[in-house]
Symmetry: C2
Subunit: 334 residues, 2 copies
């Protein structure tokens, strides 16, 4: 049997059984943005890891070394953010083709270290090895959080409001330029490419949501809004109703789509690699949560829909019709 | 500048500066078998990570999927063992070429899970992605230990006895068969190949050494005895004197070398991937340490030399002459 037949998520389901031998300090195993284990009574370590492979996740010529380093750490910090935890330490495994220039590697580490510094994170270890063809970067990041403050995917409740901490779709539009080997020339085009190459992990936003006491579940948008929201829905045994009109898209993305006749909605729904957070929150506390978010970050927490009891994935379009949402995000083996 | 010019350890030195931004709970950063950070007062998390790349660390046809999975976890457990810690959780990132058969991947996870079960370790997370050409496996393992019980590389003291927890060189002899695409036929040949493909991590031995109160420093033999002992010596600012006659070699390795006219000493000194532990211990407690080890494990803790004040790397040969030891272990960029 071939991997394509079961897909990435089928494969994960296949390898999950019998992976926990000792429940003792396990708080959350395979199945969330990060795993969680307890040290002592209430202190938890959150651990996430992401593997980036050349020609799969990045094309060397389309990204500077700095951006590659920055992004390889950013995607992990985003997972820690989605758990509502404080990131602390990064561990970088790198597999390097022999002919690689050191100056390029210096740039990678410069990108990683500048982002690490910004969030007070350490690069505490790793592994250095050679690779035959492709550059390989695996980053693992640990964070800490109190046990009762951690945000999960599988705890959304029917009636929850769905919120989003930032714009959707910019990153995918930026990727368009890279895939077409097209140089961005206008300012807004450059900003879209930057959204793809140097995504800002929503660490402070994650901590805010965790502390709010209003948030029931959270995930970061890596595969694409529709896919990631389906992870929340499936694992929480609920459905959702998105509101097309409410999907937050930047003026850059609108301009990009308008000039080309593309649908900004499609970019927002299925783009992926946005690395903003999507959370679901108690509707009673909705107003206060959004107000406090605005006071703290000086920009809105976007309400984009509702969690429903019925396990359907729906969107109310601008003309008030209901459409079924299908997962359009990334599956590595599809 | 090319990587070959500075080598693996030169590269690590190059990327280390400015990697720690927040010393707060850092106990040990880059430079040991694993990194250590504190949670609370005396509890520490030990974290190690190893990247295995096809055609660099393993050849698919020369190893079963089971062995590949087993070994990819074993090498990490060995690092945790070298710190004197209890391994708890493993995180597996895997990059899979699209045409890979699921049955082969099942085998990899079976190998990992059986070893994990043996040591009560969980596979708690990871990342699953595709890869263009080579199979890639990165495993990160966390362990726990009390702060004052952890064993490091940089704390050997002049006068220490050097000990080794098992045979040296078997793994390299096993690798010979793989590199020559030669099927092992005799029983002893099969055992050598098994030493290479399914090394037993010396977890209990590491915990024993950490608890003994006699051990000053420890490392696992991955690069090769001479290289790994040099890591201890360099970082502890001391030298060593090995005793050739005392190097523990198995009867299998002796038979292998005798039949072929090879030097078992060279295999023991520079072979690598033995995944036994080498430690240095207080000479006053030497006798008791060795006795207790024997009582616990029913095999000897081999005394193989002495740590010296003079920063020289020497070996007393069988005919009582002194020779200089040069690092002959593995450098990924040499």
């Amino acid at each position: 049997m071939n991997l394509k037949d079961i897909g990435e998520f089928g494969f994960i389901k296949r390898i999950t059984p019998n992976s926990v031998n000792n429940q003792k300090n396990v708080v959350r195993a395979i199945g969330d943005d990060a795993a969680v284990f307890a040290i002592g009574k209430n202190e938890c370590v959150i651990l996430t890891t992401d593997l980036l492979v050349e020609r799969v996740h990045f094309i060397k010529d389309a990204m500077t070394g700095y951006q590659l380093g920055y992004k390889s750490l950013a995607v992990n910090l985003s997972d820690i953010a989605a758990m509502g935890a404080i990131p602390q330490h990064a561990f970088v495994s790198i597999g390097i083709p022999k002919e690689t220039q050191i100056e390029y590697l210096d740039q990678i580490y410069r990108g990683m270290k500048e982002l690490a510094k910004q969030y007070n994170v350490n690069i505490l270890g790793g592994d250095t090895t050679s690779s035959k063809v492709d550059l390989i970067i695996n980053v693992a990041v640990t964070g800490v959080a109190k046990k009762d403050r951690i945000l999960y995917r599988n705890t959304a409740q029917a009636g929850d409001c769905i919120f989003c901490t930032g714009f959707l779709g910019d990153s995918r539009a930026g990727l368009d330029f890279i895939l077409k080997s097209e140089q961005p020339s206008k300012d807004y085009e450059k900003l879209l490419v930057a959204a793809h190459c140097e995504p800002r992990p929503h660490i402070e936003e994650g901590l805010f949501l965790a502390k709010s006491g209003a948030v029931h579940s959270c995930i970061d948008v890596s595969d694409g809004l529709s896919s990631d929201l389906m992870h929340i829905a499936e694992e929480s045994n609920v459905g959702f109703m998105l509101d097309e009109e409410a999907l937050p898209v930047s003026s850059y993305l609108l301009q990009y789509c308008n000039e080309r006749g593309y649908s900004a909605r499609d970019y927002a729904l299925a783009g992926g690699e946005d690395y903003v957070l999507v959370c679901t929150a108690n509707p009673v506390k909705e107003r206060k949560l959004a107000d406090d978010f605005y006071k703290t970050f000086h920009r809105p927490l976007y309400k984009i829909g509702t969690i429903t009891k019925e396990k359907e994935y729906l969107m109310r379009t601008r003309d008030k019709t209901l459409v079924n949402i299908k997962p359009k995000g990334w599956d590595h083996f599809a």
